[in-house]
Amino acid sequence: MAKSKGYPEALEKKLHDQRYYREDSTPDFTKRVEDKSRTIAHMCFQCGTCTGSCPSAPRSTYRIRKFMRRAVLGLESEALNDPDLWLCTTCYSCTDRCPRDIAPTDVIMAMRNMAFTHDIIPVNFLKTVTAIYSSGHGVPNNDVNRAARERLGLTRDPPTTHMYPEYMPGIRKILDHYHLKENADRIIKEREG
């Protein structure tokens, strides 16, 4: 009977350990990244098209290709603790061009989601949440703009949650379902006192 393809088990294990995992890697990280990002991160062959397309690369140490490698190697803590994780503008140029049809941008978003579960997140992201919790808008209206809108023949407040605050409880309920406001307030308070 033909032998199934592959090395003997002992060698397989050795290669597995040597090539893919170090003592600081989390073996199931790749799978969790793929589940969250819905992209085939493990297909990355490190061509560098992504980094070559990235507007953030020339002006920082941020390298999307490196994050792709970390995804494949299971280097969870190295990925989630790197401040460069937050320098992706989500321009999707890398995703647009990746020859393996991977979405590196979505890998970054998945890693950011995971970082947030460890409270690793810059506060500006959380402030957008609190703004929306209070008014429904990330960039709310102000008096100068209200006067301008009136001059333009528009309603002083746009016909959004601004004009119809009765829609706000529903929005708060959705955000509360995920305990988002509560967590945002807690983290902002920890950072800023």
Binding site: T89, H137, P158
Partner: protein
Amino acid sequence: MSESTANHTFALYLGCIAPNRYPGVESAAIKGCKKLGIDLVPLKGASCCPAPGAFGSIDMNVFYAMAARNLVLAEQMKMDIALVCNGCYKSIWEVNHKLKHNKDLRDGVNEVLKEVDMEYKGTINVYHIAELLYNDKFVGVDKIKDSVVNPLTGARIAVHYGCHLTKPHKDREFEKEVMLNTEHPMWMEELVAALGATPVEYRNKMQCCGAGGGVRGYDIVHSLDITNEKLINLKEAKVDALTDICPFCQLQFDRGQIEIKEKFGVSYDLPVLHFAELLGLAQGMSPQDLGLDLHGISCEPFLQKVL
């Protein structure tokens, strides 16, 4: 000029930055589209899309649920959505597309929406206004040309396409195939030419404005440095104005030039106008009607050329 009776009606999804910082975009979109046979009616009670950079980074599930709520408001009106912002397109179009095609995501979202007596059904479509203007099924370049009473003759105008309308092209489903070209598109230039202006290309025109992904809030200098690179390339092309189809890009280029002056000591004084504002001008709206005085960078030198 043909003031045709409206034959398409859409729920206008406003987002945050257009109505709250550049209201001229809202009024020009409504009035300009009306002249082109499109009625835009308010999408009552809409919220932030939510901001894909901020919400997508924190928790994708909240991102889906919040965008779905806006979609359900339009479903209840039985109307397709039209919107004026690339960022909103990313949230509203993409979440609609994902929820239509993934039962697991849809079920997850509906479980949350049930708490607010809503259900996402997947019954409507989402369009960016630039797409409606370019696609002759709705408007098309010829009809725009016919609506021009004040051609922007002599003005050299560059286009900033932005990222989130067309990228990643592999996931997009535009009827007009040229809109899927993300390396060297020219369809926006056609729209600019329809207004009588001269479209001008420049180095690396498809580069991002630098504002997205929460980077503007996280590291403003890094973010502005990306914008500055684009401004250097635009200056080289000697343009009178830059046009965009995304109020967040507009904010980054317009208010951004003031911040760049403060932080890097360079000034460009390049007027930045949303395509809806340009359309309004060409259709005879006054700069006052468009609230152009609210822009951070004065549009005067450009206006003197075209009025």
